[in-house]
Amino acid sequence: MINFSNVHKIYPPDQPALVSVDLKVRERDFVFVAGASGAGKSTLLKLMFGAERATRGEVLVVGRNLSEVGAQGIAYLRREIGIIFQDYKLLTRRSVIDNVAFGLEVLGVKKKPRYDLAMQLLEVLGLADRAHSLPPTLSGGEQQRVAIARALIHKPRLILADEPTGNLDPDMTKVVFDLLLEANAAGVTVLVATHNLAVIEELNLRTIVLDNGKIIGNFQSPRALG
């Protein structure tokens, strides 16, 4: 699903963010990316969905070599990925259900099916009664769930989540991870960047540790290490 070999990323002019990264994520994996602030977690994810290009090395994502695909190819890649941002990136002047359906709107899906599906998804996420509210009137956790709904609506093969619970309390954090786990159980590959060590320890799933742009650890069950 994801294959990085000897990937370097240097932000212009000379800010190194990733150094010689090798990483393999198989289909249906659930992987955490951990590391201190500035370690390069977000950069790693951005390379995966084509928001940044590798300075050197090969990045393969969902069967595509990202140094070879153009802007159009990146757009089609993103249709197979659900991206969840720490800051939600919701359209603040459009309703919750508009936001969720937006993921299908840009793909050219007709209005009725896209709103039907968005409503079903909002019901699943317990947000049906807020469907017609504007995002800013929702709590942080609710907004995060809207963002997740949008990332899920097109049934992506891969979910990339950058600090999906950065602003959430433990209860909401649990809700979010339960959803991600369920998506994973349904066959979706999930990659989560976080520095929430408590969650990593509790879920005890494969964890990659970044430090100063280098992978310094790749643990199948981090709890065993303590």
Partner: protein, 327 residues
Amino acid sequence: MRDGGKKVGGAYGLDNLWKGDVDLQYFSKWGVAWQLTQQAFRSLCASPFTSILALLTITVVMLLVGALLLVSQHTYGLMADAGRGLTISVYLKDAAAESEVAGLKQAIQAAPQVAEVRYISKDEALKSFHKSLGEQAGLLEGLETDNPLPASVEVTLGQERLDQEGFEQFAASFRENPAVESIQYDRGLVGQAAALFHFFGSVGLGAAALLLLLAAFIITNTIRLMLYARRHEIVIMRMVGATAGFVIAPCLIEGCALGLLGAVAGLVVLYFLFLLLTGLLAQLELVRAILPQLTFLPWYYVFLVILMGVAVGAAGSFMAVRRLADE
């Protein structure tokens, strides 16, 4: 009940949702085009102030372009009148054979600029000279037997407008003819007419080009403002897999719509100004006597102005979105 009463820790039913075959019907090509058009108008309406300001400016610009066309059209008309009056006298050699003269007449007649060809024999030439002298006609006595005046072919030019060079060339082409003695025409009038024509032509063309450039520039900036207002939305669109075309198309539609509406509005205003002006002019006897019948732009010029509006809109918005294509 922050999560709406749903159980936490298990069955959200995502799997079921995805398995339950929701029939994702996609828009047809026309459906997508309609969707993009709606997006364009939503974007125009989202910044009404910017849109209206841009529309007003483009209306004024296209009004001026239309006015220029109208003026140059009427200058053309006057020019054609001036050109119509022009005659070229082609004097023939006395020794020219009849067949040669006939051939020359035919060649002149065949030229597209020519409206009329009249052969004037030596006798006729003398007669008209006679007449022009009036009371002094007695001076010509005795010439009947030894007429010194040459026969000639009088060429009257039609509506075809000639510039100076074209005219010289046209005249010179007959000078080569063995039957031709000499050629005479009013150089001054032709020269003046051509100069006037060139002046109006190039000034009008330059002004129109500048105005259109200005309109394109206004549209570029308007679309830039719209893009700026929608920048968050665009980032999100791109992140959920919208192609560059999906982002760019509404902008191009916006630009073309502004150009189209501006051109149509400009023409409508121009038409009413034209009616007002001709109404006022018609009340002045003097003007009515001098000016030919004033008509509005013919349909193909109206169409041309609208086409220019759309083209300017497309070009202007293209300049604004050029960079988006490869981001």
